[in-house]
Symmetry: C2
Subunit: 226 residues, 2 copies
């Protein structure tokens, strides 16, 4: 991978060093940002009462901090400020169909972030973090929908995780066995791409019929989702 | 959620009990199978040298066992047979756009599987597991592509994880605030669906131009991917 300019490099740590498949690894901060910007759902790994859990949850990123949240009753969020977590964001771009089963694989973009999250308690910082998270997944909705009340804010745990210790892996392109002896087998090989697209808006059945969807939502219909 | 017939119920354990959002939780074995059948990429949570990692990896399921694999050099796979893991499979179906920011959410189908994986060493079982995994992600390719050689088999770690301890969560449908006082705000609310679709086949540039793609691949183009 292109490793980018030195000032946009992520630091190498024991956890972010790429032990294998080095050609897929990257410490380019811009690639980290691009992967986080392209998604809104992460898998949060956290140990709760000795049990390892991998929980899908929504996130937002402001380029230096990842925010994620949940009810204050949530097991994984109550536990995670005390413990190191790993947050992984993955976009699957296609199946790599090689001449041999052994060379089959997946085209993907993935980021892993390591650290100990902190609970955001300052009201102003909490509101800013929730805005970041909301606008990341649903741009335009923070200004359109009703914002959180004091009671709702109190019922929400917001966690902040620094993006300082992170690692990126990317695979793109054709299978790797095009110049191997398996190429003589005469088999088709290539990529079956996977596309994520926003579909047509589905109005809440309880909505008055004349209610029009705002432009910040209608303009997403039919566009790529990652 | 519909909890299904009693004989298709997953057992409740300390880890699979739904602590919150019970209405989204399910112990229906058929729903677990459906979620696993609809995908091929999981997030494997494992502790390696004291570090929690969440690794995206390909899986296959035969309805009672989940298989996943990797190079024998992979850190996470070498460590995981010794330790309990959590494997999570998530399909994102759309953004839930409510009248209030607080009620925003995601429509999704997610399965979490807990257990201690075993390394598959018996050659016949290993071949069967790899076939399951390959056919799960890329149906038709096991019979079409060149199968693993003895050397390739030796270079692959295959892990098996029982599906006995698993938990399912699903959210579908409209936002929850259609009958709240926020409905008086006159805002649009509903769902922005996310569709995953297989795109047009991309032939390996190294392929002789006349090479035709097999029917088991061409028939997937344009179909739903989860």
């Amino acid at each position: 991978m292109d490793s980018g300019s030195p000032d946009r490099q992520l630091p190498v740590t024991e956890r972010t060093r790429h032990h294998r498949l080095r050609e897929q690894g990257s410490l380019d901060r811009d690639q980290l940002d691009a992967i986080l910007d392209a998604g809104f759902l992460c898998h949060l790994g956290v140990t709760v009462d000795g049990n390892l859990l991998v929980v899908p949850t929504v996130y937002g990123s402001d380029g230096s901090t990842l925010y994620f949240h949940g009810s204050v009753a949530s097991r994984s969020l109550v536990a995670s400020p005390a413990a190191a977590v790993c947050v992984t964001v993955t976009h699957v771009d296609g199946l790599v169909l090689a001449r041999s089963v052994f060379e089959h694989g997946v085209n993907y973009r993935s980021a892993m972030i390591f650290g100990v999250p902190t609970m955001v308690t300052d009201p102003e910082e909490k509101l800013a973090g929730l805005r970041c998270l909301t606008e990341h997944a649903a741009p335009g909705q923070w200004d359109y929908a009703r914002r959180p009340s004091r009671k709702e804010l109190a019922a929400t745990s917001l966690l902040a995780l620094s993006l300082d210790e992170a690692s990126v892996k990317i695979r793109t392109g054709a299978p790797d066995d095009g110049d191997s002896e398996d190429a003589q087998l005469g088999l088709w090989a290539g990529v079956l791409p996977l596309r994520a697209t926003w579909g047509d808006l589905e109005p809440d059945p309880l909505l008055p019929p004349a209610t029009e969807a705002p432009a910040h939502l209608t303009k997403r219909v039919g566009t790529a989702a990652n």
